[in-house]
Amino acid sequence: MEITGWGNYPVIQADGFSFETTDQLNHFLKKTDTCIAYGMGRSYGDSALNHRVVFSRRLDKILDFDSKQGVVTCESGVTLADIINTYLPGGWFLTVTPGTKFITAGGAVASDVHGKNHHKAGCFCESVICFDIMLPDGSIVACNRENNPDLFRATCGGMGLTGIILTVTLKLQPVKSSNIRETIMRCQNLDVVFDLFERYESTTYSVAWIDCQAKGENIGRSVLMVGEHADSGNLAPPAVKPSISIPFNFPGFCLNRYSISVFNHLYFRKNPGYESGRIVSLDTFFYPLDAIDMWNRIYGKNGFTQYQLVLPKAASLKGLRAILEKIASAGMGSFLAVLKLFGRENDNYLSFPMEGYTLALDFKMQPGLFPFLDILDAIVLDHGGRLYLTKDVRMKRDVFINGYPRWKEFERLRTQEHMKDKFNSLQSIRLEI
């Protein structure tokens, strides 16, 4: 069968294995050479791709829920959407949610995903109490911060390279409403948006949409959105079906520097200079792109990649300005660019966030893109930053090892536990981890 990541690049031939019980998985692992777990296929690049993949989607059972503490134990293939739909009516929401709810709990752990409240709540795994994982020899190990702490730190953000995550126990946060009270601010340039991010540091959620084609004085022109859970209102679960669907791959020419520039311009203009106290649904606030089913198809059949970097706070202004200048002058354009100020980094070996600014932007696959991204990589490394493995499809080994100083501890564990013989993705092979 053909499989691919969310970026629709690369598309590869693979054998897929589906299972429902741990015995079936154990049996499979004994006879297979190398494989990687594949959940909802929302990782952008090749981190869940290999010629043999283990589909986790049949592990979709919720095993336990403590309605007093808001603690849920589910199998790794349960989606975040499923958790929200099931427990939001009772007043519980994810402590940390990324920008899509169509990912599995296992995937959220493996990528140690982050959301708009990273500066307050940290990564997804900060809300993970424990998990069960199957190791290369088929044994099942229960992991938390006290028992098997090394395996815990390696697996959270470990891109599925330590084993097959089977169950996840997760703390939800109580909410009084399924709405968010949002404040929107238009920012003329990078200085202004940085200033506002820091001023709103005590607000729970914050993120900015940034126009990557603005130049000169306007570099970093953006719209900052901050929000808090509303105090009252209904707890109705969000609508089940996406409202629009992209039925096929758009022709490649639909997105070019002119159409993107028009889009960004309109987006910037559409938002008022300042608007406070707007009430929006959780879906609108957290998952605007989930409303468009298969939005990745707008980039055409050649696919796209998302480039997400983080720079240490002190170097962020200078570094981001340099990167944005390069992007604007290269005219390689990005439809969607997101800027956010992260809080402190955690001690998981390969978790992406560090204290500083992160920028995420999409690039349509096109000739000259990878050499261009190599140039950006150099700027990122010069400023002490790194790239997000979950988005990556092309970074080179030195970019990885310079960006992730704890890679050696990860590597040591992988060698020691024979994980290298069993769990590999195209990404791990490329990065030689």
């Binding site: 589906s18 429902e20 019980t21 049949r58 059972k61 919720i62 095993l63 336990d64 829920f65 309605s67 849920v72 134990t73 589910c74 099931t86």
Partner: protein, 243 residues
């Protein structure tokens, strides 16, 4: 309300269990063979919907155990959903009678054995409902799966007769005819993507039809028209086609 799901380990059965637990807040008996898997599904229902769910061991082809199985259920169910089935391998079934026998027994004979016991009880109590999952494969014999198709065809006929009998006692019998679904039963088959349905979609259809007390439903809806055409192709032409 208490519901008995026979063949509760199937993907469609689990989707139906979830739908009824969610909408009707009913307690469930989940019956199947693989108890470890069933235990997991029981936990899933309980963790999601705050209803009671009990795993009970049931083997469709162990006919002699059926009477005991049903007698041990206390309280007795108010409704039953029959969802067990075995697709088997058509080629293997042509070559080895044991495979054909398994297909016929686990789809048809098992259904007759357990449903007669339940129908008798419902009739005596004067209440209850039965939802039986058959298949579009039972609408016309085709070379690619006529062993399974004939067993399911017999199930459809059986349910029709049961409906006729029990309607006098105000007991509703619904026949469900699913087309291709994305389940573990079909995961190794190459089927047309556009016609595939998710188990959740089937569960929605079935629940809606249950509320409306429909007699026979196709899921998804377009199978009604596909099968209308397939049933009406004249036999001299049909026999030459490869379906």
């Amino acid at each position: 309300m208490k519901l008995l799901i026979l063949g509760a380990n199937s993907d469609v059965a689990h989707a139906i269990s979830k739908k009824f637990a969610k909408e009707k807040k009913c307690d469930l008996y989940l019956a199947s063979r693989d108890m470890a898997l069933l235990e997991k599904k029981t936990r899933d229902i309980k963790a999601r919907y705050d209803v009671d769910a009990t795993a009970v061991s049931f083997d469709a082809v162990d006919y002699s155990s059926h009477k005991d199985f049903y007698e041990r259920l206390d309280p007795k169910p108010d409704g039953v959903i029959l969802a067990f089935g075995y697709l088997g391998d058509q080629i293997k079934a042509q070559e080895k009678f044991s495979e054909a026998k398994t297909v016929i027994e686990s789809n048809y004979m098992g259904a007759v054995s357990i449903l007669e016991i339940i129908a008798g009880d419902f009739e005596k109590r004067g209440s209850g409902f039965i939802i039986g999952i058959s298949s579009v494969a039972g609408d016309r014999g085709r070379q690619s799966n006529y062993i399974y198709g004939s067993a399911k065809g017999a199930v459809s006929l059986y349910l029709g007769g049961l409906r006729n009998r029990l309607s006098k006692k105000n007991i509703h019998v619904m026949t469900v005819l699913p087309g291709f679904m994305r389940t573990k039963m079909t995961q190794n088959l190459e089927l047309p993507e556009k016609l595939m349905a998710e188990p959740d979609e089937a569960a929605e259809d079935i629940y809606r039809a249950y509320k409306k007390k429909r007699n026979i439903i196709y899921t998804k809806w377009f199978w009604k028209y596909i099968m209308l055409i397939i049933r009406n192709i004249p036999e001299p032409i049909f026999k030459r086609m490869s379906m």
